[in-house]
């Protein structure tokens, strides 16, 4: 036995480790973890895309945005109790996030164990900015998601938060310049992450054939740009005043859009043409006319009852 053969010892031994039962054992290997990372990545890509497209309802105004949010809670119609489908998707997303982060964490640890830095300067040839910053853009996006939930779902950071009125909350939050900048930075990080991830997942899953290989890079580029343009448009459009609600929520009584509560009593605006007109005329025309709209609404109410 030569001395040199004793130099190399396994960094980790597969024999000593507890073998989990199938199919969990797949996750015990790095290739399996990459596979899970790619699958959860696909789920998260789907979420990011649908979320961005859904947010485009902001351009249709507060009513449509509100109705979209309600429609999400009503998914499944009468077949399942309200919000169950939505909660099912949320739980799936949380699981995907958890596995995506855990696999990234443990693979990063594995690579750190195996790697020794060069003393001289490295000259990377094809590793791009996106691929080399995955371990930075990932945590940035993760922290941003937590902030995003606290900001627009739980309303912790927003004194004007009105539960259930997404349009109002988005405007109230993003009209604040530092918040808008934070959203912009985080979404750039997200797109950079997607630029590498949406290509890399094909390799991890073993989806590789001469016919489609050139399309993989294109797919990732288009996906990243679509997400970037869509998501950046919201803070920018709020800052420039294209998306604006003059600080009023359509769930406040004075707005004239009250569903099943407040002064409107049993009147449901969604079924009420007159109230709808009042709402439209009231929106975006300043205090004075809004007052009129409220008045008309009052009349409409009278006629209905």
């Amino acid at each position: 036995m030569s001395e040199t053969e004793l130099l190399v010892k396994p960094l980790r031994s597969s024999k000593r480790r507890l073998k989990l039962p199938w199919p969990l054992s797949i996750y015990q290997s790095a290739v399996g973890k990459k596979w899970v990372m790619a699958l959860t990545g696909i789920a998260l890509l789907g979420f990011v895309l649908v979320h961005m497209i859904g947010n485009l309802h902001l351009y249709e105004g507060p009513t449509k945005t509100y109705e979209y949010a309600e429609a999400l809670r009503d998914l499944g119609g009468d077949l399942v109790p309200r919000t169950w489908i939505l909660w099912g998707m949320r739980l799936g997303l949380m699981a995907a996030f958890g596995l995506h982060i855990h696999s990234a964490w443990s693979l990063t640890r594995m690579s750190r164990q195996a790697n020794i830095a060069y003393m001289g300067k490295r000259d990377f040839v094809v590793a791009n900015y996106a691929s080399r910053t995955m371990r930075w853009t990932g945590p940035i996006v993760g922290l941003y998601v937590l902030y995003h939930l606290a900001d627009l779902t739980w309303g912790w950071f927003n004194p004007d938060f009105v539960r259930g009125d997404p349009y109002h909350n988005v405007v109230a939050s993003l009209s604040n310049l530092p918040v808008a900048l934070l959203y912009i930075v985080a979404n750039v990080a997200l797109s950079v992450h997607i630029y590498h991830g949406a290509w890399s997942m094909f390799q991890s899953l073993g989806i590789n054939s001469d016919r489609f290989n050139p399309l993989r890079r294109t797919f990732a580029q288009v996906f990243a740009v679509v997400i970037l343009v869509g998501n950046l448009s919201f803070p920018i459009m709020v800052q420039t005043g294209v998306i604006d609600d003059d600080g009023r929520s359509l769930l406040e009584d004075s707005y004239g859009y009250v569903e099943g509560s407040g002064s409107g009593g049993d009147v449901n605006m969604l079924d009420d043409q007159i109230a709808g007109d009042a709402f439209l005329s009231g929106h975006g025309q300043g205090e004075g006319q809004f007052g009129q709209g409220e008045g008309q609404y009052g009349q409409g109410e009278g006629q209905i009852s």
Partner: protein
């Protein structure tokens, strides 16, 4: 008389596996630019020996780019700046007069330095030991020609078989992953009919052995760029597929 150049070398010197290493600067004058990089190091060593100094320890064998013995990190690139070239086939004409050239050994936790620029690459042998061969009887040489293999398949297998096991992929990888080496060795056999009998065992055993020694692939593609044989990262994808497929289908058994 061939053109000559003079270069400044910053070479990693390290007495042994546990000794601390450091860069030592050597001014080498009058190197013919037709000399290969290794011949340039030979000239340096002759001069060092003439002055009674310890020569720089580096590995080489065939010096025609087919054995995989040589391998140096030159100016931050595995095997230096020329694409598809092993260190022995890199020539000094690729450098300019008065260039500073930084020379380091391959660096990875599983490539410990033996001396100076020589590293122990036996971790790669460990991967081969668990499946980089065919143990079923495939007959004598003429029998190979009796098995019809589509041209595309045989040429893909041949591309994988071009791997000379130099370790540049590990050296170039920011994660010190050996995916390119391992997948070339797996696919070389898994693509061919003769390799089918042990296909799934091979994929599992070699990948799992690799993961004992090396890091995890993040699909940068640096390995493919560094590879003197231009082995494609397509093989990595195919090996990932073989590995997970095997895990999913072999529910019973070892």
């Amino acid at each position: 008389m061939a053109k000559t150049i003079s270069v400044t070398l910053r070479i990693w010197r390290q007495d042994g596996p546990n000794a601390p290493g450091e860069f030592v600067v050597y001014q080498v004058e009058d190197i013919p630019d037709d000399a290969s990089f290794l011949e340039m190091l030979d000239i340096l060593n002759e001069r060092l020996i003439a002055r009674n100094k310890e020569p720089v320890c580096f590995e080489s064998d065939c010096r025609e780019g087919i054995c995989g013995t040589c391998g140096l990190m030159i100016n931050g690139q595995a095997h230096g700046p020329q694409k598809a070239t092993a260190t022995c086939q890199l020539h000094m004409r690729e450098f300019k007069d008065n260039d500073v050239i930084v020379v380091e050994p391959w660096r990875a936790e599983s490539f410990p330095v033996i001396k100076d620029l020589t590293v122990d690459r036996s971790a790669m042998d460990e991967i081969i030991k668990v499946g980089g061969y065919i143990s079923v009887n495939t007959g004598a040489a003429p029998d190979a020609n009796l098995i019809p293999i589509p041209h595309q398949t045989s040429s893909a297998a041949f591309d994988a078989a071009a791997c000379i096991g130099c370790g540049a992929c590990v050296a170039a990888c920011p994660n010190s992953a050996a995916q390119l080496f391992c997948s070339a060795k797996v696919q070389h056999l898994n693509l061919l009919p003769q390799g089918q009998a042990e296909r799934w065992e091979r994929a599992e055993a070699m990948v799992e052995k690799m993961e004992e020694f090396f890091g995890s692939c993040t699909n940068h593609g640096e390995c493919e760029e560094a590879c003197p044989k231009e082995i494609s990262i397509d093989f990595i994808a195919w090996t990932n597929r073989d590995y997970v497929k095997s895990k999913l289908k072999r529910r019973i058994g070892p």
